[in-house]
Assembly symmetry: none
Homo-oligomer: 196 residues x 4
DNA sequence: TATGAATGAGCCTTCATTCAT
DNA sequence: GATGAATGAAGGCTCATTCAT
């Protein structure tokens, strides 16, 4: 079970592409092998079994995401800036890895979750980051105090998630990253008027 | 291929239960037949094939949802009331049909073009309703004018969706419906302070 | 997992034939299915898996053998008669079921024993019967007293086993049953002269 | 395909150990390579294929056995002594090579024509030796004349074989060699009383 | 209508064997 | 000689679907 070799990456990349196209259950080892340009058996030198390919895909994706997200928030100074950076990073990450995006969005919501652990992890990262940002914002006076933070997290994550979903389902034809600005605006100001 | 008979309903209900438990791909016709108390072959008297069962499940679920949603908004007078009713209905529907909720949330995000049509439909319904509500709110002065309505829809749908997802993933142990009020509050007011 | 139906017997018989020809490990489900005149999948309606086919073959063979052996000894009056009947039955059983004989002899001696339980059972039956016979013979004065019965059992079983093995390996061309008489003679009198 | 080098012996010894543990069919080249401390590919420098390893194992074992058996009978003077030495040698050989013993006993009874030749050879050796001994014994008056020698051979070989089998199957915990004396006693005198 | 035994295509996985280094 | 990564044929098993009853 070698890792991090060229062939490992080659297979993982191919697998993500195939999963994105057909979904995990409908994908076959042979398809992945063909896409990767290796023999079926070769896959088993790098992965325990078919499930393991998905798990490792997720781990790679979530590892990358965690890094990106923490770095993103660090780059902002005010809470709003941090939030904007986070969402920008999130959208940018997915926009630049469309296959990964599809797999992630698809399998994440499945009940039968092979990939429970990496999802919990990335989810927790997101939650932690948002908590921090909200905290900071409240201290800085930019975010109001009487908030149910757990719900704020779901609001933000859910909205971004849905924006990505829509992007995927409409053929990924529009610019995803440009949604960051208006999204943050909605989060901060809401849809109501001042007197609402 | 008879429809709407007792047995049809019986099978569909059983299927949703099984899909909720194992996910569509991991469910077998035999399991559904057993859960429904019929023979494997009987299922093919009511459904074209396994895929068709999922499609019909979705159609039933989305039909019910459409009805509920339109009725819900009709019951409110102001835009905010209507929005609140919509979200309340959404959460209530899922809370009272946990099996359906799981299937819907799980399979909806799959790439599978299988269930694309009913999903587009319910999605469009949602979009239409939200458009109407926003329109009304803008006329009534409760909702601000400079909004990208397409994004507002995704904000609302995404947030509710995520709240439901979380509810499912935490064992459905808390009250979902009670999230309506704070959700609407967030939508309208945002998380920022007045001067933000 | 239906049992004792026609198809069950059909598959079991076919399997024994194939196992006899190629050995268990070299036999494939497809070969068995073809020999039985059924589809591959049909086998799994009657057997849990490939191993199970062998196990059930053994169970059927050992059940039959037990019956035969107990009945055989019951038919004799003196210890020597009983012994003769036992060996006669043993040889007759195998002579009339050549495929079963081959499978039994082959797999019984394997170290990796899927079929441990039925073998222990038939082995114990044999041991019990021989013990009884020796006991009786000693009381009747036909069998000498200073015997290590455990060894006598192995002497008898081993010799018969080897006679059957030879019969199989020489193409089953001679009459196996006729070996009963001289075998018993050797057991009782040994190869030595009186004064030995 | 070099022979008789250190590595050749190393692999053969490892193979016998692995075969003894799992049985030939369940053993893999990788396991043997690992046990031998060489690479998988190295095995193919010394053996034609997997089957060849088993064949050569047998040849080595049977060669050694032949030597031992001929020497053993040569050391006895009377027929009974020779018989005793033969059996003692047989039991001693297996007791001192438990892995070889297991493989030999296991695979010998398989139908597999693979190892037919070495088995026939050792079997013939045994037969020849027993014939000689019986001949001698008859001339010396220690063995009776009216014997079917072919059957005597199977009696002796079968009994010893079964004693070894039992030894293996009971965990090799008792002393095998000490069985030689009582076995010979049974062969010579039988189990009957003088007047039987 | 309803049944469920039977089918067989298809997939994951193993492993003997090869060959470039 | 030695290695071990790579191969791909082969086989056990599942399960959607059919059809005779």
């Amino acid at each position: 079970m070698k890792r991090k070799t060229d062939k490992y990456e080659q297979i993982l990349t191919a697998a993500i592409r195939v999963f994105a196209d057909k979904g995990f259950s409908q994908s076959t080892i042979s398809q992945i092998a063909q896409e990767a340009g290796v023999a079926d058996g070769t896959i088993y030198l790098y992965f325990k079994n078919k499930d393991d390919i998905l798990v490792q895909s997720y781990e790679r994706m979530t590892d990358r995401a965690s890094d990106r997200f923490w770095k993103a928030v660090a780059e902002g100074h005010t809470a709003v800036e941090k939030l904007h950076h986070l969402i920008h990073a999130h959208l940018d990450l997915f926009q630049n890895d469309p296959f990964g995006a599809v797999v992630f969005q698809s399998e994440t919501h499945l009940q039968w979750r092979l990939v429970h652990e990496p999802i919990s992890r990335i989810s927790k990262t997101y939650r932690d980051i948002v908590s921090q940002v909200v905290d900071l914002g409240q201290k800085q006076g930019a975010i109001r105090n009487n908030l149910y933070v757990g719900l704020v997290k779901r609001l933000i994550f859910g909205a971004v998630d849905e924006v990505i979903d829509t992007w995927i389902n409409t053929g990924m034809d529009h610019d995803l990253v440009s949604m960051a600005e208006p999204l943050v605006d909605l989060f901060i100001k809401g849809i109501g008027t001042a007197q609402g």
